[in-house]
Every structure is written in C-alpha cells, then in structure tokens.
C-alpha cells in the first residue's frame, strides 16, 4: 500500500511588457501597430470617462460609481481578444469592456445615475446586464457557455469577476460545472487586490487565484493585469480554446484598483499611501505609452490630439445623457413580465393617478 503522487500541478505567470515599456520579444504576440494604437486609445477613453463619472458624482449629477482606474489593460486586452459574436457577462466594474463591446457610454452613465433605461442596451450587443450580487455572474457565464456549446454556435462566453468573488460558492460551482460540461466559457478574474476593505490574503490562503483551476480540471494562468499584451495573449489562447470546443479556462489578471471601491468608499481608511504609489508606478496606460514611444508609434502631438478627442467624446456622451427626457413613471412597471398581469397594471394605475393629483 504505497503512498503515491496522484496529481501534480504548476501554475504559470505571463508578463510581456514591463513598466519601462520594454517587451519580451520572444513572447510578444503579433499585433498590428494600428491595433496597438487602438488599445492605447481604448484605455485612455476608459480613464477619461471614469474620471468624468467621478466628477459628475461629486457634482450630484451621477449616483454611486465604481471606478475602474488602474484596470484598463485587463478590460482592453480581453475586449481585443473577443470575437464579434462573443458574449460578455460583466459585474459592476466592467464599464470599460462593456463600452468596447458596444454598450453606449451614455447608457452606462444612465444606469449608474439611477435611470432604468440605462439597462436597455442595443439589440445586437451581446452583453448581460451589470451583476451586482458578487460572484453570481460566474454561473451565467457557465450557462451561456453551455448554451453556445449545445447550439454549436461559433461564439464564446467571457465572464468577469473580482478577487473577492472567488470566495463565493458560486465561483466554485460555476467553474466546476462549466468544466464538467466543456462549456465555451472563459473566466477572467480581475484581481485588483481589494474587496472593498478586505485584502487578497484575507480572501484566500492560496498563493494565486489561478491555481484554483487545478482543483476543477481546467487550465488556469496568472497574468500581469497591467500588461495589456500579456492579457491579450492569455485571453486569445483561452478564447480560441473555448471556441475550438476544448473547454473553459481561468485567467487571473493581477491588477490594482487605484480608486476607491465606489464613490461611497474611502480607501485611505484601510490601505497605505505607499502601496498606492507603488501601484501608480505600474499604471497600464503609462506602460503602453512608453512602449509606443520606443517603437516610434506615438508622439506628443498624437497624445495631445487623443486626449482632446477623448474629452470631447465623453462630453458628448454626457450631453446625450443629460438631454434624455425624464423617465416615465410607468417605466418601473413595464418590464416585469412579457405581458403585464392585472395586479401590476392596477398598481401602475395607482401610481399614475397619484402623480397626476
């Protein structure tokens, strides 16, 4: 009766682009220079609209807003790797990738400003609504991935979540079920180190989140989440794998939430200035900017033009938001059921009458 090894595993980490903007040539994926400029533009747009939302919130023109500052590379890298028909299943900190997938920014703003119509994405945008209950969306990612597999559709489901959500049972159930069913799902953890005030080491005693994949029998990889090339490469591999029908993958993108959890939070209560400064030096946008300068793809003039364009585009979206006519009172009732049941219609009538009197 010997004691034997029945399973051994190694978890890889992928880094391609360093903070100085230098790349590992051997690992660097082939990306057309124009796509690299697009990536940079996308990340600058995210930073710009995120910053604008914080300003709007301070002015009382926006509700509670969860900032994405610092996590732009994860969202831009995954978005670039996604195909036209792929589904996105986001949480509440994926405005970046949502906008890149076609959700109009003014609707994202409207949702967070408390307008029901902000959830009404265009018909052709394959994106689930924002999932607020932490970790619940992983299950939908598994379900959509199974749906695509059963229908033999040439599309995959890309679902996001944070480090905190890996402590929820739904994460484990979803990754397990998706793998059992060979679902066409890619799980992307944005490990931004903090779940409101609770640091990663209080979420898990494991060295990495990527290694949790071993327990469920799917590939898991850790990437430098502030390195857009590493994110793009890992996401491309995972999406291609799912598309081929070889099953789901798990990506842990190690990044950092440079802002507060939301505008209702004050992160200085629980984390140090030193830590923040350390991560500010890892800024994913600066990194890509340095790379483009080294490569001769970018100069100060282009930077200036882009910043102006980003500013103008965001302001135009704010204008669309603020010119929306007021939401009808009935709006809270109208989308409850395919056909409105009598008791709901009766209650809607009560409200309308009350508002008219």
């Amino acid at each position: 009766m010997p004691r034997t090894r029945v399973y051994e595993a190694v978890t890889e980490r992928l880094e391609i682009l360093d903070t100085e903007g230098r790349v590992d040539e051997a690992l660097m994926p082939e990306i057309d220079p124009s796509r690299i400029r697009d990536l940079y533009r996308d990340m600058v747009l995210m930073r710009t609209f995120d910053d604008k939302a914080l300003k709007l919130q301070r002015q009382g023109r926006m509700g509670t807003w969860p900032p994405i500052k610092g996590q732009e590379a994860v969202q831009a890298g995954v978005a670039l790797a996604m195909g036209e028909n792929d589904w996105l299943i986001p949480t509440f900190r994926e405005h970046g990738v949502m906008v890149l997938r076609g959700v109009p920014l003014h609707l994202v703003y409207a949702y967070w400003a408390g307008d029901e119509r902000g959830s009404c994405y265009p018909e052709d945008v394959r994106c689930f609504p924002v999932a607020v209950p932490v970790g619940s969306q992983w299950q939908h990612g598994a379900g959509v991935g199974l749906s695509l597999k059963l229908r033999g559709e040439d599309a995959v489901a890309v679902t996001f979540g944070g480090d905190g959500s890996t402590s929820e049972g739904d994460f484990h159930e979803a990754v397990n079920c998706a793998t059992v069913f060979d679902a066409k799902t890619v799980f992307v953890i944005q490990n931004n180190q903090w779940a409101i005030s609770v640091p990663l080491h209080r979420q898990t005693a494991a060295e990495t989140l990527a290694q949790k994949a071993h327990a469920y029998g799917l590939p898991g990889i850790q990437v430098d989440g502030n390195d857009v090339f590493a994110v793009y490469m890992a996401a491309t591999e995972a999406i291609e794998r799912a598309r081929r029908g070889d099953g789901p993958s798990l990506i842990e993108a190690v990044t950092y939430r440079l802002g507060d959890h939301t505008t209702a939070d004050d992160a200085s209560r629980y984390r140090s200035e030193d830590e923040l400064e350390k991560w500010e030096a890892q800024d994913p946008i600066l990194r890509l900017g340095h790379f483009m300068e080294h490569q001769g793809l970018w100069d100060e003039d282009q930077e200036k033009v882009l910043r102006e364009e980003a500013h103008d585009w965001v302001e135009a979206q704010v204008k669309v938001l603020e010119e929306m006519p007021p939401q009808a009172h009935e709006e809270i009732f109208t989308s409850m059921y395919a056909a409105m049941p009598p008791h709901v219609a009766e209650q809607m009538g009560e409200l309308v009458e009350e508002m008219q009197s």
Partner: protein, 343 residues
Amino acid sequence: MSSTGAEGQALHAVPEAAAERQTIAQAVRDAMLGEMERDERVIVLGEDVGVDGGVFRATDGLIERFGADRVIDTPLAESSIIGMSVGLAATGFRPIAEIQFMGFVYPAINQLFAHAARMRNRTRGRLSCPMVVRMPYGGGIHPPEHHSESYEALFLNTPGFKVVVPSNPYDAKGLLVSAIRDDDPVLFMEPKRIYRAFREAVPVENYAVPLGQAVVAREGEDVTLIAWGAMVRVCLDAAEVLAREDISAEVVDLRTLNPLDRETMISSVVKTGRAVVVHEAPRTGGFGAEISAQIHEHAMLQLEAPVQRVAGFDVVFPLSHSEKLYLPSRERIVKAAEKVLAF
C-alpha cells in the same frame, strides 16, 4: 370542466379514447416529453434527472428519448442549476430546471431572486428568462428533515416570477405545458404527497391550462374553502364531511398563485359570505394572509364572518413522526368552516 372531487370521480371530463388514466407524476413527465418534442429549445436539467429518471421518476425515460444534451444530469449544485439556467434561458433555450425538493432551494435563492426574476426588468425586456423551476413541495410522505417544506410565500413576495401549483393530474399536465410555453420564469410546485395518490383521465396530446385562472373544484353555497396543491384534496374531503352536516362548501382551487385569479375567488366569497384559506406553509406571513387581505379589500361588505386560516404552525416542519400534527387536516378545515358559520 369541473365536477365534484369525491374519491373515484374525475375532476375533468375527458373522452376516454384520447386519454390515459395517469398520476400527477406521469402527467408531469408527459407534459415535458410533449413539449420537448414540440420545441427543441426545451431542455431539462437537475440532479438525477437523466439516467435515474428523477427521484420521483418525473423525468423517467426522457434521456433515452432526447439524449444527454437535452436531459442534463448536473453536479450537485442548486445555485448552478438555476444560475446556468439563467444563462441558457437568456440565450435562447427554455430550460426546465428541477430542484429535487423545495427544501433544498435555498442555495439557489440568490440566482432566483437576484437574476431569474429580474432579467427582463434589468434589460428592459431585451433578455428574459423563459424557464420553469420544478420543485416537489409539501409534507405527508414521512421523509427525513428538509424534504417537506412549502416556501411559496417567499416567491410570492418576489415580483418577476409566476407561481403555479397543480392539484390533480389533468391540471398538472396542462399547467406545466403553459409554464414551459410562458415567456417568464415560472415556479412550478408539485405536490409530492399526491404524486401517485390517484389517477385521472389525462389527454394523450399536450394541451394548455392557462396560467392565472382558478377553478371551482366543487360548488357550494355556505362557505368558500380556498386552497392549492395537495390541500385541495383535503378541502374536498372536508366538503364531503360538511355536506353530511347540511353545510354546502364551495372549494376554489387557485392553481396559479401569481398571477392570482382574484375574480373567481372574490365571486365565490361574495356568493357564500364566508371564507377559509388552507395552506401547508406556516401561518404567519403565509399566502393565506394575503388572500384574507384581498378578500377584505374587495368583499368586506359581503362577509358574514372574519376569514379563517387553516395553516401549518409557526414551527420548523416536524420530523416524520409528528408531521400529521402539523399538516392541515380535514378535521381542522371542518372546524374552521363551522366556526365561520357560527360567527
């Protein structure tokens, strides 16, 4: 369609040639089978629903007929069963998810309340969850702990669902067909106590019993007994006992709890002037309270007596030895009816 519910008499007049005498469990199975043949988007998933055919045999033979891609044995994970169904339903499937016993639905509550019930609202109608959650519910089968619960009130206080509870084989088939064809999430509570208690003529072809329509299961003049699911039979028994005392009891089988057929219920109470509501769930905060409130809102002046509730006690559902103490009985219903008549 309805006649008296006395033992041995059919509740529904169905031509014998096109019908089979079936139990509720068989009717449930055949409803799914027919809908799966009719619509390839309909799939079944849950624990033991495939190879085993379901612990109550309600999915018996479906995997042989439709294969493992449409009759999916899932890992033992209720939150996944519902969470994945949300993903499947929002992208074009019509999943029928089975929660093996309603007492085990709690791990899936987040997915049900936070997502299934809200998907249409949260996407302004762009995505929806046309899914059915089948849940054997209720007591009376002497099982272990957590196998006897009736949690309908939880779901009735959560907008976005429809809640359906059949009381006989004919309705079980017709209501399940409607539930599967419905464009919103439907919680389909199956009275496991009477899964095999009796047989009734059930048409072979699928047919729809519309959601949101109650039925008068027995006509009467003096008092209205309002119930659903397994309690309808107990009310029909009580009505027989009352008839021997020259009390004419009308029995209203609600069949759908949301949307509620208020009209049928109120018309009956307006006629009789007296009402007793019967359910297995605990009394406090139970759906009987809502029914009582609605009767008072809409038929106050026609009432001859306060509405009475015959319900489970506000205690944990007892272990099998004591379940008879807990469950509303024919005698308790008779006593409540006598009380409203004596008021």
